[in-house]
């Protein structure tokens, strides 16, 4: 084995150990590729159709959806906000028809006036 090893010798040795693809693997790969091509083909056919109206269907659908959602939102009954949330009678002078009341506003904030 003292002779010089040529590239061709290595190549022949490696190529002599080539195996066929197992039938079940080959079949499985074909099946997967076939099912993938069917799935993609359905969408592609719609997209590639010669009728230009069909191409615009997704755009029309999204516009209609946006308008519908807008209408639903605008027709919604928004409960009126109460301005006064609590009224208490603190003091009453019935003979003089005077009532001193205490009012609590919902959005009441204590503010210091700037001078």
């Amino acid at each position: 084995m003292s002779k010089k090893i040529k590239d061709e010798d290595i190549r022949d040795v490696l190529n002599s150990m080539n195996f066929d693809i197992p039938l079940e693997i080959d079949k499985k790969v074909n099946e997967i590729i076939y099912s993938e091509s069917i799935q993609a083909g359905f969408l592609r056919r719609i997209f590639r159709t010669s009728n230009p109206i069909i191409k615009w269907i997704p755009a029309f659908a999204s516009i209609i959806l946006i308008i519908t959602l807008g209408l639903i939102q605008s027709n919604r009954n928004v409960p009126e906000r109460k301005l006064l949330s609590e009224i208490n009678i603190e003091y009453e002078l019935k003979d003089k028809n005077i009532k001193i009341i205490w009012v609590k506003k919902e959005n009441f904030l204590l503010r210091r006036l700037k001078k």
């Binding site: 090893i5 195996f19 197992p22 790969v29 091509s37």
Partner: protein, 180 residues
């Protein structure tokens, strides 16, 4: 019109050459290369059964991205680069100790007509190489790619590829010398 990627996965694509529409079939490109591809994967993973899964993933990935393939270039380096990525992913996920597969079982399959000593030396030398060196060794000697194609597939520069091949050759020789 270029279709978006979610339409990917076509058995046939249509391209324009000189204002003429030409239908390019995936099968037409894939079928002549699939045996070489399978054997490259098989040898790269030391004849383990993982080769079947890697081959399957490679074929599916190639099919999905077939639209991105430049039909003016060679298909074989393109699909082998996909396979190489899948092999690298496999080794990344796998614990390195499980890399040692039954090479002895492989030697049992060597035909009697063949030079057993040389075959054992070549495969032993190949499996003693680092994974990235081994892939270059198989791409050159088994799959028949030239240096520039290997450089394209592996992303290594041509000088580096030459050095790795020369080291691999030396290792085969040293294996044969040790067998004497």
């Amino acid at each position: 019109m270029t279709l978006p990627l979610f339409f990917a996965g076509e058995r046939e694509i249509t391209e324009k050459y000189n204002n003429k529409e030409v239908i390019i079939s995936f099968d037409e490109f894939f079928i002549p290369e699939k045996k070489a591809l399978y054997n490259f994967i098989l040898k790269s993973v030391s004849f383990s059964e993982d080769a079947n899964d890697i081959y399957q993933d490679t074929a599916l990935r190639a099919f999905k991205y077939f639209r991105k393939f430049d039909t003016l270039k060679r298909f074989k380096p393109w699909i082998f680069s996909i396979a190489l990525n899948e092999i690298r992913k496999h080794f990344k996920n796998k614990i390195q100790s499980s890399d040692v597969h039954s090479i002895e079982n492989l030697f049992e399959q060597i035909p009697d007509t063949q030079n057993r000593e040389l075959t054992e030396a070549v495969y032993s030398a190949a499996y003693s190489l680092k994974i990235n060196e081994r892939e270059i060794f198989f791409l050159f000697y088994d799959s028949g790619f030239n240096i520039s194609e290997i450089s394209e597939i592996t992303g290594k520069n041509q000088g580096n590829v030459k050095v790795i091949l020369s080291n691999a050759r030396k290792r085969v020789k040293s294996f044969l010398r040790s067998k004497k």
